[in-house]
Amino acid sequence: MASAGRRVVATGAGVVCTLGNNAAECWTALRDGRSGIGPIQSVDMAGLRFQNGAEARTFKASDHFEAARCDLIDRFAQFAVVAARQAVSEARFEFTGDLRGRTAIITGTSMGGQTSLDRGFVAIYKEGRPRPHPFTIPLTMYNAGASQISMDLGITGPAFTISTACASATHAIGQAFWMVRSGAVEAAICGGSEAPFSPGILRAWEAMRVVTPDLCRPFSRDRKGLTLGEGGAMLMLETAERAIARGANILGEVVGFGMSADAGHVTQPSVEGPATAMAEALRDARTEAGAVDYINAHGTGTAANDATETRAIRQVFGPHADRLAISSTKSMHGHALGAAGALEAFATLMALREGVLPPTVSFNEADPECDLDVIPNTARRSQAAFALSNSFAFGGLNAVLAFRRWEGI
């Protein structure tokens, strides 16, 4: 086969979220089943129907950027840059020769720098000022994460941003995977980031009535909705050939990517769309459904998603669905929207590598509508070799990644 068949591996991961400020801290929390969800501190929550969120509480911009740069980079893009630095550093990837121009940067975000825009609108509509701060546009633009990474690391290859709501990062990683596999680029930094904690954005989510006043309890009968989270995660992808040649530490292999659109309701999920995306990821990976061991579910904790996702999994896997282990790590890192798929891709890669499947925490009671093995509350040792990571967005856009444990060529 031509270059379309190059094998693609992840050799570095960077993560900032409520569970920690680097990949090791975040994986330890996921493995230990420790949730980072708690009362939101960065916004005055008086009068809101929900109080909990998954904030990156210990992340300080000044630890990572000099003061003048902080003015020019919204929190969502700060997460993107810090995660990208970590991913490249962990991969020990050196941009020698023409690699600066042959590396792609593909970032996902659902809301971009809307917290900066919200601040600007407060200045105009509430404080009566004539205009918002002049940096509002570069702070807000959705591509700020990709742009800031390119400037920070001096990477001159293809760089762009994908915004497909809660599937953004999964679409971004999938696109990057395809570009490396096809030979369009040699390597890619890809993932997503999100920072949705502003008064205006939180009230917009409240108005949708999908945020739980409780904890996020995916697949549990008493689930009441999602918990918003923030953070960023980036993966360093490259060809297996290059990774082996330079003696890189391989985290796992990306083997498939599938997408679909529901072409249905704007917020009500369908069975068919997610099922098609899972089937497409398996087809792209040239793998039978029976080979799948673990699924990191979209698992938002809303009544509609978890029941519908369960039906979609049953449709794709048939009887094998009862042999699958499934968990929603959103129960720990919250729903970080456009970053969610990257946090979960990281969790999935680590689960395969470490032989530990992270649990669905805060789980109270089985729901007949969600009758799968959802790894309730406690992580599980496993020899899982093949996994999917699901992301299903508002607007009916679905994206699924397939990963395989790395066991050498």
Binding site: A67, A68, D71, L72, P134, F135
Partner: protein
């Protein structure tokens, strides 16, 4: 030149660039102060806020140093007080 006004403009520049006030004089050029286009934009925003004036785009493009900035603000303040009187 209004010395008090110049001092205020210099203080705004120092805040925008995060440099000591003492490193700026009325004869400093933006180039000497390493003010790029974003810094200049940021400065104009601060001046508009501080002095309650609106700096037109043409004027914004023409100022390249502290002296012309002070002169521009002085003119806008004069126009403002005439309009108000």
């Amino acid at each position: 030149m209004d010395e008090a006004l110049a001092a205020k403009v210099i203080a705004e520049i120092a805040a925008v660039k995060r440099i000591p006030v003492e490193s700026i004089t009325v004869d400093s050029t933006f180039e000497e102060l390493a003010m790029d286009s974003l810094d200049a934009m940021n400065l104009l925003f601060s001046l508009e806020e501080h002095f309650g004036v609106s700096i037109p785009d043409e004027a914004a493009n023409s100022i390249k140093d502290v002296r012309s900035t002070v002169a521009g603000v002085e003119r806008l303040l004069a126009e403002k007080s005439e309009a108000g009187s």
